[in-house]
Structure formats: C-alpha cells, structure tokens
C-alpha cells in the first residue's frame, strides 16, 4: 500500500472544501446545539437555503451571484423564524422533529418535477458560479507546497472558504463572550432559571437559531459555488448528521471545536476510504466482503458508529470542556 498517498490525501481532505462546508455547518450547529441547547436537526435545510438562493438567483431570476448571496442570508433568516417561532416555546424535542421535517420538505421540493423549472429538479443547477471565479486574483497555475498543492480556482475557493470559517468563528467567539452569550449558555443549563431572572428566553433562542442558520447558509454557498453545482440530495439528513458528528467530535460549546471536528472528520473519512480502496484494489479484502462501491458506504457506517460512541464515552469530544456540554442537561 502507498502510505505516502494515503497520508497526503488525508492531509488534503482536512483542509479541503468538504471540511470548510461542514466546519461552517458545524459552527452554526454548535451555536444552536452546543451553546443554546437547541436540537436543530435540520441544519441541511439552512445549507440548502444558501446554496439554492445563489443558484436560483443566477439561473432562474438572472440576477448576479452576489444578489444571490444576499438572498441566501435573508432566506436562512426567514427559515429560522418559520421554524423557531412556533416551536421554540415548546419542549426541546419538538424543534428536533420539526427541523428535520423542514429540511426534508426543502429537499423534496427542490428535487421535485413540479418546481423543476426553478430548482432544476433532481439534476440541480450547474455551472452558474463563474462570477465568483472571475474575481480570482490568482493567475493560472498550481500553488502550494507538500501535500497541499491546488490549482488557482480550487485555492481561491479554499481561501474564501477558510476566510468565512475564520470570520464565523470570530463572530461566535465575540458573541459567546458577550452578555448575550452568557444568557444563551444559561438557557442551555437551566431555562427556567434564566427566565426567572427576567430574560426573554424565547427571543434569545430565536436569535441563536437565526445566527447559526445564517452561518450554515454560508456553508451551503461554499458547497454550491465550489462545486459550481446545487444538487438537492446533497442536503439530506446525512449532511445534518455529519455536521452534528463534527460538532460532537470537536467538542460542543467550544469555538475551535466544530472547525477542528470538521477537519478531523474529513481527514478520517478520507483516510479510511483511501485505505479501504487501496486494500481492495490490491486484493487484500475479499470482494465478497467489500467491493469498490461499498467502500463509500463503509465510511458512513463509521460515522454512525462515531455518533453512537462519542456521546457515551467522550461527550466532551476532543477539545471540549466536560463541564460545559449539552448532554448533561436534560
């Protein structure tokens, strides 16, 4: 087996576009789940809002891509309000069920034939984001060193993407250190106590849902613009659960947690995939047990196992603080 290739692929995946997308999704989810204790299981819906807003604005409305970015932010805010206003007064599990349902509604509508003339149906919207690449200040060529060598367009996406990750992390850091952040953490720990101190718990929860949702929408935009493609099935429940895994792996209620979690998660996914692929190509794995196409499935099985084991054995994740985790509060 070519270990050099495996290691370099792993290191590339850790800074790649997927890591950025899921880092952004996870930063938003961390604000919901880690800091406020909101069970948002529909983060994929917020990503879809960001992604489809850019796609629809360019292809269907014939607006500019940047108008699409603005519309995406507004769409995420509207979605957060639609989901939050009815459910945030209710018990926590209601939000979980409603958000996962809403994300599926968005996915089903986006891939339907009925709205296909707007969303592109199951084939999606493709090749629409040239406006983004026209702004690329880098000349043609390959840049980077070691395993991290990318062509100019890829590097442009990565630069903007990591810039957004840094900016979002900074915003979350400033927010959670502010009085506002102390209130949402108090809500996570004991909602009734926060309310009895005169805080408008409901308003704080809605605000948290909005801010985290908008950060998630940026993740969707990076996903869509980086691939030059919006596909409805990329915004299914698996996306939400991968983001959730990133949050828990990195450590809930920590600013670097979701970013580190997403990098490690994609590094690990690429690592296992490359090992399995090479092993099966060299005939080390009997084809009766695992074939080439099944390798992609195995990595999701591992994500499932991680999602089962982490809350039980290491609820604070890698960077987390055991005293500050959503899991202990009931």
């Amino acid at each position: 087996m070519d270990w050099g290739l495996i290691v370099s692929e792993t290191l590339r995946a850790a800074v790649g576009q997927e890591a950025i997308v899921f880092a952004l999704a996870a930063i938003g989810l961390n604000l919901h789940f880690g800091y406020t204790g909101l069970l948002n299981f529909g983060q994929a819906g917020f990503l879809a809002m960001g992604a489809y807003s850019t796609g629809i604005c360019v292809e269907y409305l014939q607006w500019s891509l940047w108008a699409g970015v603005g519309v995406g932010i507004v769409a995420a805010i509207v979605l957060a309000l639609i989901l939050g206003l009815p459910t945030l007064r209710l018990r926590a599990d209601y939000l979980a069920i409603v958000t996962i349902a809403a994300a599926e509604i968005i996915r089903l509508i986006a891939r339907s034939v009925t709205f296909g003339h707007i969303t592109g149906g199951s084939s999606g919207i493709n090749g629409y984001a040239d406006a983004f690449y026209e702004l690329n200040p880098l000349g043609d060529g390959t840049y980077g060193f070691g395993p991290w060598r990318f062509d100019d367009n890829r590097l442009w996406v990565l630069m903007v993407g990591w810039g957004l990750v840094g900016l979002s992390s900074l915003v979350v850091l400033l927010l959670v250190r502010s009085p506002w952040g102390r209130v949402i953490k108090a809500i996570r720990e004991d909602e009734d106590a926060a309310r009895s101190l005169g805080k408008n718990v409901y308003a704080y929860k809605v605000q948290s849902l909005v801010v985290g949702g908008v950060i998630g929408a940026f993740g969707g935009m990076v996903f869509a613009i980086g691939n030059q493609s919006v596909q409805a099935d990329n915004y299914g429940t698996a996306t939400t659960f991968l983001a959730l895994t990133a949050v828990i792996l990195g450590g809930t209620a920590r600013v670097p947690g979701p970013v580190g979690g997403a990098m490690i998660l994609w590094g690990l996914i690429s690592f296992t995939e490359n090992i399995l692929r090479q092993a099966s190509a060299e005939g080390l794995l009997p084809t009766a047990i695992i074939s080439g196409t099944q390798v992609g499935i195995v990595r999701f099985m591992l994500v499932g196992l991680a999602l089962m084991a982490l809350p039980i054995f290491r609820p604070q994740g890698i960077f987390g603080n055991r005293r500050e985790i959503t899991f202990e509060t009931r």
Binding site: G37, P86, L90, V113, G304, F327
Partner: protein
C-alpha cells in the same frame, strides 16, 4: 452503582452484543443477496400503483419475440378517445434507432424489437393532433428493459386529468381507501415509537430502521429461502421483535443505568440509525426489490373504488392487530403497567412496577408491530434500504399530531397523517405528498402543540 470504568466495560460488551445480533443476521445473508442481485434482477414486474390507466393492458400476448406495444388515448373529462397517427421511435440504450411505430385508428402501436435489453422510446410530440398533449409535459421518453420473449406495454398518458366532479369524487373515494390503508400501516409502525418515548423519554431516530429490518427479514425469508410471504412475515415479526428487545437489553438499558442524558441518547439513536441504514445499503444494495408473492394482483371493483385483495387484507390485518393491541393495553396487567410507566415512571416504579421489564416489553412489542408495518409497506410498494427512514418522518408527524408519548394519540395521529398523505394527491403532485403531511405537522404545532390527545404542558 458500578465504578465508571466497570460500567464502561459492561456497556461495551452489551453494545457489542446488542448490535452484533443485528449485524450477524444481516451479514449472514450477504452472499445470497449478492446472487439475487445478479442475473435474476429485473425479471420481476410489478403492478403500477394506484391503477392509473392511459395505456395498453388487455391486448393478447403476441406470438413470440420481444416487442413493445401500447395504446394512446386522449383523456378528456374522463372519456378516452384513441389517438391516431402518433409516431413512437425506439432506440437502444446506446442510441441506435431500432424503428418507429405509428398508432392506428384504435390508438394502438406495436414494434418488434431485435432482442432483450435496454431501450429508450420517444414519442414525437409534433405528431400529436391539435389539442392533445402529454399529461406530464415533456415526459415524452421512456427507458425500459425487455426480457427474453417479453411483450411489454408502454404508457404515454395523454390529456389532462379528469376534472369532472364525479371523477374527482371517485378519485377522492379511491384515495380515501388508500389513505385508510396507509394510515393504519403508519399507526402500526409508530405505536412502538410513541410508547418508547412515553416510557423512557427517548426520541428514537432508529425506529425507521426497525421497520426496514422487519421488511428485509421477510424479504430474505421469502425470496432467498423460498418461504411463502405469510409465514415469512410471521417469522420476520418474531425475529424483529426479539432483535428490538435485545437492542433494549444490549444498548438502551445500559445507557439508562449509566444515567446518559436524553439528548445524548437521542444522538446515539441517530448514530444507530445511520449505522444500520448504511449497513442495509451495504448488504441489500440501493435498489428496491419486490416480494415474490402478491405483487401482481388484479384490482376488484367495489362500488366506485378499485381495490386489490392484498389491500383489503392489509387493512383488515392492521385493524385486527391494532384493536388487539388496544385491548392488550386496556385489559392486561402489562398494558396497565405500560400506561402507568408512560404516565409517570418514578411513580410507577415506586408502586412496585418493574419499569425495566415493561420497557423491554414495549420495545419487543413495538418492534414486532414495526416489522409488520414494514412488511405491509413492502407489499404495497417495495423493499428498500431507506423505506423505514422515509416512513420515520411521517411517524414523527403522526405521533406529534396525536400527542407525543400517548398510545391512542399515536394511532389517531398516524391515521390522520396517512389519510392526509394519500388524499392530498387530489390537489398536489404525488411526489410532494410527504411534503404536505410535514407542512401540516408544523401548522398543527402552531395551533395545538400538545397534539390531538396530548395534555397541554406549558414550557415557556
């Protein structure tokens, strides 16, 4: 209480035991499944769901050789008139043209094919008479495969759907019957989900996978071990019930003992759902597959409603099982204990009820019912790795609508959701029927968050 280290070890063993039972059952079928997915795949045909007309069906079989045939009829106000002179061109999957057929004065077209394989048929829309349109705009191509000696009907529905009042009314009745069937099916699958929530507080995201597991067990017994579907379904219900019971003993009881929070447990169930679903995909493949029995059944006319015997059977069976389950809850000691635990676990425990035993039974019975729901869903549609997960959201919608944690509320809520999903296709396209139900879920939460039978509980 055990020391943390010891609890971890115990849990590890229990987790391994609990999941390995499920894994072992699925894994042992791997080679057989791989074979079944091979050459025999695609040899089975199924009835078109819902009995939509608009094409061929009653023509006699041709003399031999592979061919494709169909009847083009324009539908205006529910009346069918044959459409003459329409060109249908057939090409192979690689794009080589095979031939063109033109519909005759009866609207029929027929084209011999060179052999079995994949073909693409294209209807030339410019040859349609004035005013006649495809029912689904732009849907003028069909990809199909032909087996040796097969004469295959091809549907190109024309005209607009009947908008007459009587037509709508009849269609409404038809959908109502299908809604009853679907609603009872969801109710059966979801009762366990609601009772598990009621007794343990766990929102079990892996419940859909129990449904899939049951349907797949029946499929394995039916298609690979050649057992008739009814005994196969019985066996699947028993196996799934035991597996669900073991899941409680192996995973959830240790977690409860450990004092794992409800949110952590919910995330664990998401992980389990993710793991099992991909395991199913890994072993079963991404295609949906039918059972070997009851796939081709002619619908009988019952007044204005067309219904296949299997649907009548499905409705009757669900009703009997659900009424039996209701009696079990209402009349037996276990039922009383279950309702007590669902109402208040601490109080139930202090009055001498063995809560763990009740919960185990809830898992077992709920798992069995979910499996039965899965088999019926597999008969109505087909068996696929995502079938349970797709049903999960409807089950959530149903039990939330009925009132989280209640047994009868779950039955009622799921019944309503099932009806809604089917009847809503009167007004919206059937690909969006799930969307309608989920939107209603959100609307209901706005108006009556505790559900139909739930008790109001003020949180904020």
């Amino acid at each position: 209480m055990l020391r943390p280290g010891a609890t971890t070890a115990v849990f590890m063993v229990a987790l391994a035991a609990g999941t390995s039972v499920l894994l072992a059952i699925v894994a042992t079928t791997a080679p057989a499944l791989a074979q079944a997915g091979g050459p025999s795949g695609g040899a089975t045909t199924t009835t078109a769901p819902g009995g939509q007309q608009g094409g061929a069906g009653e023509e006699p079989e041709s003399e031999g050789g592979e061919e494709v045939r169909g009847r083009l009829e324009d539908r205006v106000d529910g009346e069918l008139t044959p459409v003459e002179g329409v060109k249908v061109t057939v090409a192979t999957a690689t794009g080589e043209e095979v031939g063109t057929a033109v519909s005759d004065d009866e609207g029929e077209f027929r084209l011999a094919l060179p052999g079995p394989g994949q073909y693409v048929a294209t209807l030339d829309e410019s040859t349609l008479p004035k005013g006649v349109r495809l029912r689904t705009p732009g849907a003028n191509t069909r990809t199909f495969s032909i087996n040796v000696g097969q004469s295959r009907p091809l549907l190109f529905p024309l005209g607009i759907r009947a908008r007459q009042t009587t037509g709508d009314f009849d269609r409404g009745l038809q959908l109502l019957v299908e809604g009853v069937k679907f609603g009872l099916l969801i109710a059966m699958a979801a009762v366990g989900l609601s009772l598990i929530y009621g007794t343990t507080g766990l929102v079990n995201f892996a419940h859909g996978e129990i449904v899939t597991f049951g349907a797949m067990m029946a499929w394995i017994a039916n298609q690979l071990l050649d057992v008739q579907l009814i005994p196969a379904a019985l066996a699947a219900v028993v196996v799934t019930a035991i597996a669900a019971g073991l899941l409680d003993v192996g995973v959830w009881r240790p977690l409860r003992r450990r004092g794992t929070g409800l949110i952590a447990a919910m995330v664990v169930s998401i992980g389990l759902s993710f793991l099992l679903r991909h395991l199913f995909l890994y072993q079963f493949g991404g295609r949906t597959r039918p059972y070997g029995d009851y796939t081709l059944q002619r619908a009988t006319q019952l007044g204005p409603v067309e219904i296949a015997p299997k649907d009548i059977f499905s409705i009757a069976l669900s009703l009997i099982v659900l009424i039996g389950f209701g009696l079990l809850l209402q009349r037996t000691r276990w039922g009383k204990a279950t309702r007590a635990v669902a109402d208040n676990p601490e109080l139930a425990a202090s009055s001498g009820i063995d809560v763990d035993k009740v919960v185990r039974l809830v898992w077992t019975v709920g798992g069995g019912l979910a499996a039965l729901g899965g088999v019926l869903l597999g008969v109505a549609e087909q068996v696929g790795f995502q079938m349970g997960f797709q049903l999960l959201l409807l089950m959530f919608a149903g039990i939330t609508l009925g009132g989280l944690g209640t047994a009868y509320g779950a039955l009622l809520g799921c019944f309503v959701v099932g009806m809604l999903v089917q009847v809503s296709t009167l007004w919206i396209s059937s690909e969006l029927k799930t969307v309608g139900a989920l939107v209603v879920l959100i609307l209901i939460l706005l108006v009556r968050p505790q559900g139909i039978l739930g008790q109001a509980e003020r949180v904020g």
